[in-house]
Structures are given as C-alpha cells and as structure tokens.
C-alpha cells in the first residue's frame, strides 16, 4: 500500500464533520431578520448564554428531540454531544435561570414551529422543505 493511501481515511475523518454539517441548514423566523450569524453567537443562543440576536431581537432556540440531524448540529455548531448539551440546559433549568428550549419531533414540525414563532431559530436537513423561514448562513 502506498503511503498516500493512508491519508485518504485520515482526510475522510477530518472532513467528515464539515461534510455532515453541509447536510444541515440553520433556519430562522422571518421576523427575526437574521440572514447570517457568527458561530459563537449561534453557540451562545443554543447554550443559553445569549438570549438575543445581534440586531436585538429575542432569540428562541428550537431543538429536534433526537436523530442524526440533531447530533450533527450539536457536534458541528455547538461542540457537544447530546448528553453534555442537555446537562447545560438542565443546569439552567434546575437553578431557575432559564426555561428548556422547545423540542420538536421532525423536520416538518421544526419548520412549522420556527415559521410561526417570532425570533425562533432551529436546524433541519438540507433536503427537507423549508418554506416560510429564512435560511441563515453561519460565518
């Protein structure tokens, strides 16, 4: 085996998260008027340390209850696995300083909730229909 073939699985491993992440898109309620967001701002909103977008609109994070899209989103944009992520929110909820984000059971439910909730921001598979919401670019 030539040495360069050893790099192929390595490259695949290194590129895996970003390839996976390309399957996920971030969506927001149109009234939020958010078309792009910094990854640290996105992380702050989904970890409960930020409650607003940079334009001052109150942010309402929305989650998928479970599934590969949920895991991919957490890994790529939040930097946590599901159990660690829920630990962060349980810390906030059980100390009385925040409420748990809304959980949705499917991409369709996510899109419907984000479309109807001012300030809502969530994530779905790129292939899922996502009319009536804004697609948000992550910087």
């Amino acid at each position: 085996m030539k040495v360069r073939y050893l790099f192929i699985p390595l490259l695949l491993l290194c590129g895996a998260p970003s390839l996976r992440a390309q399957k996920i898109i971030i969506i927001a309620n149109r009234s939020a008027k958010v078309e792009e967001i910094g990854i640290s701002d996105l992380r702050g909103i989904f970890l409960g340390s930020s409650t607003r977008f940079k334009n001052g609109v109150t942010a309402v994070p929305v989650l998928l209850r479970s599934g590969p899209e949920h895991d991919d989103f957490l890994a790529e944009y939040v930097g946590k696995v599901d159990s660690s992520f829920r630990t962060v929110w349980r810390s906030l909820v059980f100390t009385g300083v925040a409420s748990m984000p809304k959980n949705t059971d499917s991409d369709a439910a996510m899109v419907a909730y984000v479309a109807s909730t001012p300030g809502a921001i969530g994530y779905v598979s790129k292939n899922s229909p996502h009319d009536n919401v804004t697609t948000v670019a992550v910087k």
Binding site: S49, S50, T51, R52, T58, V60, S66, G79, V81, D82, S83, S84, R86, T87, V88, R90, S91, V93, F94, T95, G96, V97, S99, M100, P101, K102, N103, T117
Partner: protein, 378 residues
C-alpha cells in the same frame, strides 16, 4: 423515609414522567436519585456507611411559566435525605420571579439560588454532574443546605468586552437565610459549644459572582464572594458568627476534555455566649480542588479530582486539621433520562465529614469510600 418510597413508586409507575412538558410557556421538569455509600474504617458523613448505606435519596420538581416575554416565574421543590442530614421532607429550593430588562440587566426576587464558586448553585442538581460527590473540601454535602439559596433579590447581566475581550457575566445579591439546625454546621456548633437551638439559625447575607468568558475558546475564569452574619439565641446562650468567603475558579472545556479548579477561603469570627460566659474564636479555612474529565463516547464519561481542605493553619500535620480526597469517577447515561454513577474516594485526614455520634470509637486518619448512584431526570 416514606416520602422517598413514594417518589420511587410514582417514578416506577410512570406517573412523574407523564407530567414532563417542554412547551414554550409552562414547563415541568424533575429528577430523582438513589445513592449508596460504602466506607472502610470510618463512617463517612452519616452512620452505617461501614456496612453500606442506601439512606441517600434526592428528588426535585420544578414548574416554570413565562407569562410575558421578559418575565419568568417558577418554583422548585427539593427533597434531600442523607440519613439524619437533610430535611427529610420537600422544601422550596427556589421560588422566584425573573424580569430580564435586556442582556445587560435583569432582576430576580424571591428565594433565589446563591452563586458562589463554580458549583454552589448546581451542587444539589445531581443530573448535571459527573461526580456523585462534589469536592467535599468546598461543597460539603453535610453543610450544603445552608449555602444553596437565599431569600432576597439578585441583579444579573452579561456585557461583551469587545471583539477580543470575551464577555463578562455578573450576579450580585442580598437577603436572608437560615442555618439548618439539622445540617453539618448546626451539629458542629452543638458538638463544639453545647448550644442547643430550637429552630434554624437566622442569617443575613450578601455577595457577588463574576464570570469572564475569555477570548480563549471554552476558557472561563470567575470570582465570587459571600458575606454571612448569623445571630441566634439558644436555650443556653447565643451565637454570633460573621463569615466572609472569597472564591476564585476557572473552567476549560475542549472537545471531550474538561478541566476545572477552585480555591476558596472562609474566614469566620464567632462569638458564643455559653451559660453567661463569652467564648471568642476565629476559624480560618482554606480549600481547593482540581478536576479533570474525559468523555469516552456519547454515553460514558470518566474523571478524577483531588480535593484539599485545611483548618487552622500551623497545625496542618494533624489529621484532624485537614482533609485530602483523591477521587476516581465514572458516569454512564443509558438514555436521555436514566444514568448511573460509580466513584471511589481515597480520604486522608478527618477534618471533614466525620461526626462523633457516627464514630463512637474514634476516627482513623484514612478512609476508603465507594459511592454509587442511580438517577432519573426529565
């Protein structure tokens, strides 16, 4: 004891989880845990650990609502039984109204969790911790009920510090509190002075907590201080204790790795009037810990910490004046709700966690302790 069985019965029947809600307004969440303590040589924290004690149950239920976009209200009931420590009946952990004017300023009023150091406000929330027992040098289970929350108000907020400065969060608070007669401090005062109190000891307290999320990704540094003035009348005298506790801490999270450390000092000036005689004394306590953990996979997390407590500097070589604890821990999450923890403690020194009533034949300088916990959270 009866309440403990009721909690587990409801859980097994699936009654409690049915009420779990995650709607955007009214939310109900809770948890219940059952612990086991097995120690060698000494009874640790409570009696009976030498022969394995399961007399350790905790449960909590919180209900919150958001009646207006900037206003949240809520209450959490908490049940804590650790043999004769703890309340043995549900108490209000927190009950508050929270009005956030903007990200820079908000107000909370009612019974509010007290921020002090890295874990004070979460030390009774088992589902969020890897550790079955937090570092006892600072977060002693037998004394924790005194520090958890206060009646009064908080102001809080977060401000960015520019592009390269990170952001700074603050909380400042003031109010009143009660030192439980049945807690560790209550027992220690009785053991050392013989003062007998009919009720919990009233205290006034104030303090602040600052957390700097540094520009270095995932590095947080913080500092807190707490001032408490306890004054109470006993059947046979009075106790007047003024305590000041500064704390400095930091936390680093990078991928699967987590590291944290904290240093706290507690300076206590006490004046006891015992049967018409004044006894004045000062307790200067120093404590610190360093911890590290690694997430093996999505379900398993392992970690270790070293915790050190020092009482009355100058006589540190006495086992009765210090407590050192080396801990190995593991947590396994079966799913989003159920988890288990196992932990071993290698304790040296007897300044913390031992009571004469639990160890009538005296205390040996070393103890090995095994801890296991099973928990459910929704």
């Amino acid at each position: 004891m009866t309440f403990r069985y009721l909690v587990w019965l409801l859980l097994c029947l699936g009654v409690v989880p049915v009420f779990a809600q995650d709607e955007e307004h009214v939310q109900v969440h809770g948890f219940v845990t059952q612990g086991l303590l097995y120690s060698k040589d000494n009874n640790y924290l409570v009696s009976g650990t030498n022969t394995a004690s399961v007399d350790w149950t905790e449960a909590a239920v919180s209900i919150t609502d958001r009646p207006a976009p900037k206003l949240r209200i809520g209450i959490q009931l908490h049940y804590y039984e650790l043999s004769d420590l703890g309340s043995n009946y549900p108490t209000i952990d927190w009950a508050l109204g929270d009005y956030q004017v903007n990200p820079y300023f908000g107000l909370r009023a009612g019974k509010v969790k007290t921020p002090l150091g890295l874990f004070n406000d979460t030390q009774d929330i088992d589902p969020v911790l890897l550790w079955a027992l937090l570092p006892q040098s600072i977060y002693a289970n037998d004394n924790r009920n005194f520090f958890l929350s206060h009646y009064g108000g908080d102001v809080y907020g977060t401000t960015p510090l520019g592009q390269k400065g990170g952001k700074l969060s603050y909380r400042a608070y003031g109010g009143t509190n009660n030192l439980p007669v049945t807690g560790g401090f209550g027992e220690q005062i009785y053991d050392q002075t013989g003062l007998v109190f009919d009720n919990d000891l009233p205290a006034k307290q104030g303090g602040a907590d600052f957390r700097w999320q540094t520009p270095i990704k995932s590095l947080m540094l913080g500092s807190s201080f707490l001032y408490v003035h306890t004054h109470a009348k006993a059947e046979n005298g009075t106790a007047d204790i003024k305590s000041y506790a500064p704390a400095y801490y930091g936390k680093l999270e990078a991928g699967r790795y987590y590291a944290a450390g904290e240093y706290r000092r507690s300076i206590n000036h006490a004046l006891f009037n015992i049967s018409s005689s004044d006894v004045k004394t000062t307790y200067d306590l120093k404590a610190w810990y360093a911890m590290f953990s690694y997430r093996v996979n999505t379900k398993l997390q392992i970690g270790a910490y070293y915790s050190h407590y020092l009482y009355a500097p100058g006589m540190a070589s006495y086992a009765s004046n210090n407590s050192k604890d080396l801990v190995l821990s593991g947590r396994y999450d079966f799913n989003q709700n159920f988890y288990a923890k196992v932990e071993t403690h290698f304790l040296h020194g007897t300044a913390l966690g031992y009571y004469p009533d639990d160890n009538p034949d005296g205390v040996r300088p070393r103890t090995n302790l095994a801890v296991a916990k099973l928990g459910f959270s929704f």
